[in-house]
Symmetry: C2
Subunit: 204 residues, 2 copies
């Protein structure tokens, strides 16, 4: 068979990522193969190599979608009011997302490009956009001129929450523990400690 007019290149890109996402969510990483994705959309596996450089490339784009999906969830969460409460709301949104899309979310962090290849710039931009959501509620806690420290704290909180969800979701830490409880404690103590240090003027 040759050039069909069923789908444009862009449509094919979307179709492929749709199918890849479905496969991933339904069957897990092991079943996310070039051939299965191609089969799902009614093309041969060779065709996918016109759209993506290779499977790694496809995964990088799929992960981009995951970051977008998470942003779409979190962006509507109100960030005003008590900083701690806002952070808890964000945390809950994050936790719920990782629960609902466990496989997608695992792939995002567990896929590694082969040696020498780097993630595209837009990946980091998508991450920064998410981090900005965490930075917002932190604003009232930092006086002007301490923006760097605010960014730093957002990263601590983001990474820490990631760790909590990661260890729980993959059952690597212990069989059962409440992610909510752990994240709640984290946020509460961290913010209190931060506030205290800031009040006493002994931040760093």
């Amino acid at each position: 068979m040759g050039r069909r007019s069923d789908h444009s290149r862009d449509e094919l890109y979307e179709l492929a990522l749709d199918a890849a996402g479905r496969l991933l969510e339904a069957e897990g990483q092991k079943d996310l193969t070039v051939r299965k994705v191609a089969g799902e959309i009614g093309y041969s596996h060779g065709t996918l190599y016109n759209i993506f450089a290779d499977l790694d490339d496809l995964i990088v784009h799929l992960n981009g979608r995951t970051l977008d999906a998470l942003y779409e969830i979190l962006k509507d969460i109100p960030l005003d009011g008590e900083p701690e409460a806002a952070l808890r709301r964000l945390g809950r949104g994050y936790i719920e997302f990782t629960r609902r899309h466990k496989n997608r979310w695992n792939l995002l962090f567990e896929h590694h490009l082969p040696h020498g290849r780097e993630l595209p710039q837009w990946h980091y931009e998508k991450v920064l956009r998410l981090l900005a959501l965490v930075e917002a509620p932190l604003a009232p806690l930092f006086p002007p001129g301490r923006e760097k420290e605010r960014v730093h704290s957002a990263r601590v909180l983001w990474s820490a929450l990631h760790g909590i969800c990661s260890l729980e979701g993959t059952r690597k830490l212990a069989k059962h523990e409440s992610v909510e409880a752990l994240s709640r404690t984290l946020i509460s103590f961290y913010i209190n400690g931060l506030g205290e240090a800031m009040r006493d003027g002994r931040y760093e």
Copy 2:
């Protein structure tokens, strides 16, 4: 070829895991294959299936070794003195380990058993032994009768540190950030917040 007397079953087990560890550290997850491990120790791939149920099983045992190795590093770190200082020392040890053994450490958290299979009991015991190291320096911060909360806090800190190292080591968060700085801030603010809450009697 048949039954050789070169190595006992136990020796073969150790040899295989040695080779697997070497391959993993040198080449990464992609090159950790049954055939390569077998080749490294001078046996055919079929032989490995006398020792391990399958590749997943081999990896589970390899990960057990990783947990042991981490414990061996951390167990000699002095945990007395200031809680915060002790936690920082533990954190540094952990960070250094994840740097030195990046591939081993990634595999530990990124490997998933196929659906329906569970990690062996001894895996969780090895984890608990590590968590106990974090619980120790927290002891002075909790009055008697709050052991549950102490365990809880150890888990928060452990998971959070894991998240920080994970995101940094895999370059998924941002290109460069000081893991040390992030973990230092985490420990400092968390412990301060915890102390304050405990003093004021408003824990939970």
